[in-house]
């Protein structure tokens, strides 16, 4: 399978190169390309006393990771009305002694300007919807996409594989009507066929958009943003879901003799059709005269666990964690490790709870060279938090950038970020722009 993928990849690039060459010669096609070459070293520090991974017995994670990738964007204009957009990320990753290579296609679509403000796009596109920095309640197409949380918030949605879509868009004065279909395609797009209809407008000085998304259950999105005066911007977004993809741990079966009190667990997805779940965000961005920017956002995630659900989850973790350390007589350690691995798989979804506050300040021009950022994501329910600092240094006339960043997770063993297997991570990155 790997060799087939490699073959497809090299065949694709060869085809692309020959096509570009042909169109360039034959039609004097415009080509524009840009991007960056990135090398990144990550140092992870894990919690030894983490209830989800007591004494590192459940899993071992790599303490060092290196990643090298090319972030290439290419735009080909055949004429005023036909354009091809490509964004690809050939990536090489090394974790401890394991190496892997993968090529991601974020965008690879052709766009037709059909005249009178009507546009049609066909291909693969990373659709990004929402007005927030930290949370996207109406970003329905990308809910199941892999996200690199070590990137800066605004970059997390960019390095993300696209969806295969057909989009038509009509641009009228101050009003845009959009229809997008992402069909289910064998071996390419396994998710159900999805469709979205969106209405966007500018009312005086306020951006408004309303969307309806149809898939296994319906969703409605709403976004609003406006500038208030010369320095302040406010935004809000909401996503109403008429169903949920919530996941819980529940007892599957009792192990051993009846009444042993030892259980095997499973992940349970309750059918919650008909119920309405809200995700919402409200925030603002303030710019000071000394160029320092502040962003504060509150968001609500009704898909997250409430107090009782969280208590139940923690109880399962606590119970199985203690049994991994001190295995009850007659039982296998593997059972409790398995139960904890299920709990760990739920932890990979960020935002397990409901109320969060995100705040960030940054100054992009300290001493004309440094861009310093510090963000914090706070779980308002259990007061656990993550601190996200980065410092960028630009050199060689902005052709190169060095970035030092990291994340520090704080909280007790029963809080969301305190339960994270990771205590902190730091990374060093070099970027060459072209």
């Amino acid at each position: 399978m790997k060799s087939i993928k490699k073959l497809n990849c090299s065949a694709f690039f060869s085809f692309l190169f020959l096509s570009i060459l042909y169109f360039n010669i034959a039609f004097c096609m415009d080509i524009e390309y840009y991007g960056s070459f990135v090398t990144r070293l990550v140092e992870n520090k894990f919690r030894k006393d983490n209830p989800l991974n007591p004494g590192f017995r459940v899993f071992n994670l790599a303490e060092c990771e290196s990643k090298i990738y090319l972030n290439l964007s290419m735009n080909l204009s055949f004429n005023e009305n036909i354009k091809f957009a490509l964004k690809t990320r050939p990536t090489w990753i090394k974790k401890e002694n394991k190496e892997m290579g993968k090529n991601y296609f974020d965008n690879a679509y052709i766009n037709f300007n059909l005249g009178k403000g009507l546009f049609l796009s066909v291909g693969k596109e990373n659709l990004i919807e929402g007005v927030g920095f930290s949370y996207y309640p109406s970003d329905f197409f990308s809910e199941k996409k892999e996200i690199d949380f070590t990137l800066k918030e605004e970059e997390q949605s960019s390095d993300r594989e696209g969806n295969y879509i057909v989009r038509s868009e009509l641009l009228l004065e101050n009003v845009t009507l959009t229809a997008i279909i992402a069909p289910e395609i064998d071996n390419l797009q396994e998710e159900n066929t999805r469709a979205e209809f969106k209405f966007s407008t500018l009312v005086y000085d306020t951006d408004l958009s309303i969307s309806y998304f149809h898939s296994n259950y319906g969703r409605t999105g709403f976004n609003i943003s406006k500038a208030v005066g010369q320095k302040f911007e406010v935004h809000s977004g909401a996503g109403l879901r008429f169903g949920s993809d919530r996941k819980y741990l529940r007892k599957k079966s009792e192990v051993g003799v009846p009444g042993s009190g030892i259980f095997e667990y499973e992940i349970y997805e309750p059918k919650e059709e008909g119920e309405v779940f809200l995700r919402a965000l409200i925030g603002g961005h303030y710019t000071c005269e000394n160029k320092t920017n502040y962003i504060v956002e509150y968001f609500y995630n009704q898909d997250g666990y409430d107090e009782n659900e969280w208590e139940e989850f923690i109880e399962i973790v606590r119970d199985n964690s203690s049994k991994v350390i001190s295995v009850p007589t007659g039982f296998s350690e593997d059972l409790f490790k398995f139960n904890l691995s299920l709990a760990n798989s739920l932890m990979t979804y960020r935002y397990l709870r409901r109320h969060y506050l995100f705040a960030r300040f940054w100054n992009p021009e300290i001493y004309n060279r440094f861009d310093v950022t510090c963000g914090i994501l706070l779980n308002l329910e259990d007061k656990s938090f993550v601190i996200l600092p980065t410092a960028d240094y630009k050199l060689i006339k902005d052709f190169m950038m060095l970035r030092l960043g990291g994340a520090v997770f704080k909280g007790d063993g029963e809080s969301e970020f305190g339960l994270s297997p990771m205590e902190n991570y730091y990374y060093f990155e070099t970027r060459f722009f072209f």
Binding site: E32, I128, V131, S157, L171, H285, N293, D398
Partner: protein, 243 residues
């Protein structure tokens, strides 16, 4: 006797006629016409920010439609490629291809050095400011009109602007930018006038930071071209189709 009395009266009338100032709106319009060659045009911009011996440069392409709409494409450095700034009336958005939907920004957010978004996206003063007073002034032996402008709406880049326009040519000479509370933020000096599209126009604007001494930036304008762009070109939702 009557003639004797009439003569000083006549001189006074002629003199007053010579001193009568043209309407402030007219001066502002003439000064704006020198800065912007047409309601629809494009040009190249180069922003050079200086901090001591160190220089940083950004290159942009500006597209203007109907004076109240403009689109700025970031061309240099490579790290900025794929970025756009869009202004429609008093609304400003920033867009990076493939990163996010266009986001709302404020006119005072800085692009580079002393240059704010509004300094490049807004090409004329009369759209955002109204003159409230006019008087004559003299700088370096040059006779000027001194116009005091106040913001028409809260989203204007500055609360107040004092614009100095050369009396003879209506060439903008300098502009002082103030906050709503009256604090002087920056001073812009227009220079390097060249014959472009049938008129002498400033090809440089030096912006001096009045809050941090010694810091300044220069915006250079070149390659003016009068061109009309389709209406949808200046729509927020069209930004993703721009390459």
């Amino acid at each position: 006797m009557k003639r004797v009395l009439f003569l000083p009266l006549l001189i006074l009338m002629i003199n007053n006629a010579g001193l009568a100032l043209p309407p402030a709106e007219e001066i502002l319009k003439r000064a704006d016409e020198i800065r912007a060659p047409s309601k629809h045009f494009s040009c190249d911009l180069e922003i050079i920010s200086k901090r001591g011996d160190e220089e940083r440069t950004k290159k942009l392409k500006l597209f203007v439609g109907d004076e109240t709409k403009s689109l700025v494409k970031f061309v240099y450095p490579p790290a900025d490629k794929g970025k756009f700034l869009l202004m429609v009336d008093e609304n400003l958005w920033f867009y990076t291809i493939g990163i996010r939907e266009p986001i709302r920004i404020t006119p005072q957010q800085r692009l580079l050095g002393e240059v704010s978004n509004g300094d490049v996206a807004k090409v004329v003063y009369s759209v955002d400011y109204s003159p409230v007073s006019i008087n004559e002034w003299e700088i370096d032996d040059k006779k000027m009109y001194r116009l005091e402008l106040v913001a028409k709406h809260k989203s204007a880049t500055y609360g107040e602007v004092t614009l100095f326009v050369e009396k003879e040519t209506f060439n903008p000479y300098k502009a002082e930018f103030y906050t709503i509370s009256g604090k002087l933020l920056k001073t812009a000096y227009y220079g390097s006038y060249q014959l472009i599209l049938e008129k002498k126009r400033p090809t440089e604007m030096k912006i001096v930071d009045e809050l941090r001494t010694g810091q300044s930036s220069i915006i250079k304008y070149s390659n003016f071209e009068i061109k009309e762009f389709p209406e949808y070109y200046f729509q927020k939702t069209h930004l993703k189709y721009l390459q």
